[in-house]
Amino acid sequence: MTSTRREFLQNSAFALTVGSALPGARPETHSSGVVAAAPFRPVVTPNGATAPHRIVDGVKVFHLVAEEVRHTFAPGLDAFCWGYNGKVHGPTLEAVEGDKVRIYVTNRLETATTVHWHGLYVPSGMDGVGGLSQRSIEPGETFLYEFTLRHHGTFMYHSHHDEMTQMAMGLMGMIVVHPKSPSGPPVDRDFVYMLSEWRVIPGTRRPDPNEMTDFNVLTLNGKIFPATDPLVVRRGDRVRIRFGNLSAMDHHPIHLHGHSFTITATDGGDIPESARWPETTVLVPTGSTRTIEFVATEPGDWAMHCHMTHHVMTQMGHGIPNIIGLDPSLIDEKLTNAVPEYAAMAQGAMNESAQDLASETPPNSLPMVGGNGPYGTITMSGMFTIMKVRETEPSGDGGWYAPPAGTLARPATEAELSRDGIPK
């Protein structure tokens, strides 16, 4: 409980700090004049942030500014995206069931926009569908959305004006509404992820919203591995992970290694305990949220990733021939023979380190896979992260797990092969 408390205080302090940085912010006021402890475990948005708010006359006031943001998916890959409050994706809006919220939306884009509160019960005129619920917010305008959060759960917000373009550019974020009267076992860790997909052609610096099928940057909270922050937990922690998916065209089966879990809620509400079943993969359809819970019983470094294999690649080219079964040196030989530029490039690479042998790649692009692991390159990217379960309260990113003796895969010895009748 000590650690839980410390996390709680840390998160409250963070909310205060960020809150004072609100554009045009006034000192947060509250009817009691003090900052009240939130009656919930604040959610953590890995690689992201929780939106600051003020309380004015008992109303939680948020301010979202839609604007262009230069976003880094991972070091080496930047793009001019659209986000809220300088972030991609927008900060998580966090509140409690029954809260009255007032959300100002300022449009600093060069085109009209709206915000839709995906999954929330709101008055029709607050639903944010441009042309249907309201007129769209023109550049430079600030609109006010105001409603009461009538139910708890995991929800999303996103543009509902020229959705194809604006969501492809990143205009989305998560909403977490904690229950007023929590039921079930309390969690020690509460994480939230927005799953999304992009098309950023290597060498360009802007997502291509026209893409319909070939998305090449698949993100967890706007980041790709190895830039995704790990989930660091302590053994025995009850962990909740909330997933929202606003990918343009894809669902994402998120698989957690080393543990099983149950799906406890969707954006439609909590799932009765009697209807839950154990899983190791949760399929998060686009336009939906899924919440899973489990107890982190197994110490170690555990992968968590989308199980669609092309979703754990970054900027993969799909127009290249299949070279499996071919001696790769043959292509090198033929290119060297016929293309002087390639020969020159290869000659230059001779003096470089092995890492550079792949040689020159387009600016603002990343290798399709590859993050450093304790035993070599992790041939994953995209929607991939690591859950680190440690025996004691971890610090920082938890470092790499040191497996106890006899628990690490290794080359078989001659004696072992012989003993078990395995041919070499």
Binding site: G319, I324, L335, A338, V339, E341, S359, E360, M368
Partner: protein, 465 residues
């Protein structure tokens, strides 16, 4: 005695007019000097000794890689048309001397034999008109000779620049063959990768067939490029006048051996007119025709007539001497028609001179603009377009390294680069031709409009793209 002395002086006077060919030997030297001045190339004196020496000298050149300057010198030694031109100059020289000669006097002998003796009539007559027109005829022949000189210099200038053009063509054809070889190498490599992928079971047959087609077309292109090279070589060989072992020459690599200094191109028209050998010929022809004008009446009266001496011995009176002569009465033919014809001929020459001058000026402007535009295009292609194609290959390679594109995209970019290189050869060849045309114009000969549309990149037509 007085009659004998007069006859002696007359004969002596006639003999003094019979100058020999030796006196005109300087004409060939002058012509050679003019050719050297205009082309920068040495021309021999045409003697058998010189020819023998020159041929011995040029044979080792043919065993070394041939440069453009050497090719020009070889052509001036070995091309038989050079000898023919100088032989024609010899004819003109002879015509000049001939025009200075006085027609031979006519000795007329008439004898009659009677029972009591014989009568003898002797007449010695000199054609009257020949004497009268000799200065004009001489002047006309001199003008004809000047025209011949100009024509020969022009022929040599044309030959020299034909050789230079053929040399440029041969060099371009050789470069085109090299590009075609690279094209085949790229297509071949591309096909081999595709064949390997097919062997691995990774591609469908149409993909493989497509690569086979590309490679086959590249082979055809190279065959065409090789044929172009052989044909271009023959163009030069025949201009060099070579055959047999001497025709096995090789080409020296380009080394920028000769620079074109275009001078003040704003004065291109004036320079072309001043240098024009065609106009020089026209002027000479006008002089020649002018010598014939106004001679109609003279010819009508004196044509075919003569003056001289007559002697007769009669049986009874013995020898008698006296002058003799004949004269046509211009009753029916006053010579006006001939005068009019001569004046019309003069007007023809003047009109043609004017038109030729207009054409020379027009040619000067056209060639100047062509050279400027082709040079600019060549510079642009060298500085911008070709580097862009090379850059494209590098860019595609970076995307290949990033696995965004496959090896066939790289081969394809390389093939496009090579096609652009062939177009660059076209541009370089056209710039060479434009330069040579302008140089030739400033050397005195307006180049003929090229009938042949040959370009180095023509082999690409076989590649089907």
């Amino acid at each position: 005695m007085r009659g004998n002395r007069g006859l002696y002086l007359w004969v002596l006077g006639l003999c003094s007019c019979t100058a020999g060919l030796e006196n005109t030997a300087h004409i060939e030297r002058d012509v050679r000097t003019r050719i050297e001045h205009r082309t920068g190339a040495e021309v021999g004196d045409g003697t058998a000794d010189w020819q023998k020496r020159a041929e011995a000298e040029c044979r080792p050149w043919l065993r070394e890689p041939l440069t453009e300057e050497r090719a020009v010198r070889v052509a001036l030694i070995r091309n038989a048309s050079v000898h023919a031109s100088f032989a024609r100059l010899g004819i003109a020289r002879a015509d000049l001397v001939q025009a200075g000669l006085i027609a031979n006097p006519i000795l007329d002998l008439n004898a009659k034999f009677f029972r009591f003796g014989s009568e003898v009539e002797v007449g010695l007559a000199q054609p009257f008109l020949d004497l009268l027109l000799r200065p004009r005829r001489r002047a006309q022949a001199d003008a004809d000779l000047r025209a011949s000189e100009a024509r020969i210099v022009e022929e040599m200038v044309a030959l020299v620049y034909s050789v230079r053009r053929a040399f440029a063509k041969q060099r371009a054809a050789q470069s085109a063959f090299e590009v075609a070889s690279h094209l085949v190498r790229a297509a071949q490599s591309s096909r081999e990768v595709m064949d390997s992928l097919a062997a691995a079971g990774n591609v469908i047959k149409p993909q493989q067939t497509e690569q086979e087609i590309v490679q086959s077309r590249a082979q055809l292109s190279m065959a065409r490029a090789e044929a172009q090279q052989i044909e271009a070589r023959e163009d030069l060989t025949h201009l060099l006048g070579l055959f047999g072992e001497d025709a096995a020459w090789t080409l020296a690599p380009a080394s920028g051996e000769r620079r074109f200094e275009p001078g003040d191109l704003s004065q291109a028209e004036a320079r072309a007119v001043a240098a024009s050998l065609l106009l020089e010929q026209r002027y000479a022809q006008i002089d020649a025709v002018a010598q014939r004008s106004g001679m109609g009446a003279t010819e009508a009266i004196f044509g075919g007539r003569s003056i001289g001496l007559a002697a007769k011995r009669e049986v009874e009176a013995g020898w008698g001497f006296g002058p003799a002569g004949s004269l046509a009465l211009p009753i029916f033919d006053s010579g006006d028609v001939r005068d009019e014809a001569a004046e019309a001929a003069l007007r023809v020459e003047l009109a043609e001179l004017t038109q030729d001058a207009v054409e020379v000026r027009s040619t000067a402007r056209r060639l100047r603009e062509r050279w400027i535009s082709r040079s600019r295009e060549l510079r642009y292609r060298n500085a911008v377009l070709q580097p862009l194609h090379t850059q494209l290959v590098r860019d595609v390679l970076t995307h290949y390294n990033a696995m965004q594109v496959g090896p066939f995209d790289v081969f394809s970019a390389r093939i496009r680069e090579l096609r652009a290189q062939a177009e660059l050869l076209d541009a370089a060849y056209e710039a060479d031709l434009a330069r040579l045309d302008l140089e030739e114009l400033f050397a005195g000969h307006a180049p003929r409009e090229m009938q042949e549309e040959w370009r180095p990149s023509m082999f690409l037509a076989m590649s089907g793209e």
